[in-house]
Symmetry: D2
Subunit: 207 residues, 4 copies
């Protein structure tokens, strides 16, 4: 599989590396754990992040809205995925669950986009602007959850003109059913490549 990148135009995008998703004790971790542990999701995310930092790629983060009281009470319509976030208070602002897992703490010079309200890291945020202001045209995606925020962000990226690589063992979902829907049915239509962490690390290292 060809994974050539233009170094100056390529970034790593880390989606929702919150404790609530990927740390023991997080609100959604128990549901993600079977898939995440089976494919080595968290260690693979760390490995790709390290490789990208070592290669000097620009790092971006697309964080989900951290729940705050009053977020949805006045909305005329609330999408089901938002109702779920509301009832669970996922990523509650000011709590440990609403912080990034420590390995994914942004370093100076890394860009954290504005929080997204639904699933796409691009919708109603400055992610597209920040990518453009840094000259980025291609990016590699790691993070959570495969069939919601990851799939949504990659679909939007293709609509907006970006060239995307998804790291399939650096993401997770509730079961193989959702992983299959995202990684085998849908994302091959929008991502240039669906690769493994080791393939991506090798490609990055050669830049």
């Amino acid at each position: 599989m060809e994974l050539a990148y233009e170094k100056r135009a390529t970034a790593l995008l880390v989606i929702d590396p919150y404790n609530d998703f990927i740390s023991e004790g997080g609100k959604v971790w128990e549901r993600l754990k079977p898939v995440a542990e089976a494919n080595g999701c968290v260690p693979n995310m760390v490995q790709v992040l390290d490789a990208a930092r070592n290669a000097g790629l620009r790092i971006f983060y697309a964080p989900h809205r951290r729940y705050r009281p009053g977020d949805y009470e006045t909305w005329k319509y609330v999408a089901p995925v938002q109702k779920a976030a509301w009832s669970r208070k996922t990523f509650e602002y000011g709590t440990w669950g609403g912080e990034f897992r420590s390995e994914f703490t942004p370093r100076p010079g890394e860009i954290v986009a504005q929080e997204h309200w639904c699933s796409s890291g691009f919708a109603n945020t400055d992610l597209d602007l920040q990518l453009k202001r840094h000259g980025i045209q291609q990016f590699i995606v790691i993070g959570l959850i495969a069939h919601t925020c990851v799939e949504a962000t990659v679909r939007f990226a293709a609509e907006l003109g970006y060239d995307v690589t998804v790291v399939k063992d650096a993401t997770a979902s509730y079961s193989e059913r959702e992983m299959h829907a995202a990684l085998e049915v849908n994302l091959p239509n929008y991502a240039r490549a669906i690769s493994t962490a080791s393939e991506v690390v090798a490609s990055i290292a050669s830049l």
Copy 2:
């Protein structure tokens, strides 16, 4: 299932009712036919469209880019779903395959949005503007293909703030695998309801 709508704020959205998708002889029809014939896709689409017209709902169409020579040759990156459209010349401009199936010919006063280049009817088009200019906040979706343009358009709609109902037997895809990914795994997160044509027709009739 509750399917209440505010009549003046509700529309029907018809996605890609091209001959190439849903007419005998169309370029993609053979691949869609098994699912489409099994669930009555085309007659159900017609039934919902008739009901919406009779109820006085505003009708919108979200058409895919009709292929024209030179569309992709100069692009730096082309998404896989666009490479497929390019190689097949799907909905070729000026050909029968690039016309709407006759039952779905827009009538005066019905709104045809600009053509979309990838899968979402909203991306890089005037669909959001046209819905707003007509005061629309909720819409019902019929059309093709369940896991590409329909799913993409519904995902974007939720991101943009719309309340959406998907008519599950007025859409189709290549096999039950893609139907499952779109209608059972993904869209329940973004659509307010996934309903049948008969449920939707009954709800519309009562407006």
Copy 3:
């Protein structure tokens, strides 16, 4: 002048009511003071806000990016208006200048959109989403600065499908030259009405 509004679909939008703009001692106040004091900008802003709250209109705020170290150093291109914000550190995060003037402190249930990076309150933020999620189709604008953020936000609003009223004595700029460009040359093309605070207060009171 006709100023009819649909109450449930109408909001007040307050743009950039920062101390740096409209409080004695703010970084830009000296430049805005002559126009702002001549037209009663701040008292008129307060009067319109009070009237909107009393009438039960939904209140939204569109705040400019509060300056943080590292905001622009890595950008490939920086627009002149952003270079100026960078050099002045306008609305510096964590400082008094980066807080709203006290009369404009948002109350519970009032919506503060994400910070905008350039001039339009809509660009790269969740303002359009929040307006839609609350069923808003018309809004009244007060705030700063007439020819940059106010004009940009009203221009975008018209592009996005909103019906806008600008309160011409509840905004200000550096001199009559910029006020003229915004309020007499440009905004009459995009706003439904350019009104006075007293006209708007009277219209709101009758809702």
Copy 4:
């Protein structure tokens, strides 16, 4: 004035070169003629277009909606600039006024974006997508009208992350009042440079 461009990332954008604007007999020509003839608008537009073609820059066109019957009748709100276009039937589809002046006929390989409904060439169109798909990050603007479509497109471009040069004697408006508002008050905040045709031609020639 420094006008350096990265050749592969730079394009020329031609806005609304319709006969109705810049040809003898066009519906709006009489209003634009005094300014356009005084600054050599049309010959300068031709000169910049020729230079850009000779230098191998990619050429894009941002065309206004060509009027068609039924365009606005069903809209809940219509912005004043759109009411004017409606009443004049500017750029009527199928008429000479709705064709580009002959010197500005797009050549094969040049990109015509979808029609814009209001003033910004980016709003509700595929212009941002087409620029990204061609790797464009900087562009030079010529065309009409300085304080409406040109100013709106440049303002949006800055919001979206582009680096823009405006050619001040390859645009026109109704009088010096509007030219001043656009070119001296507003656009210096958003464009990297406001240059003359001869300066731009010299810069392009050296690429």
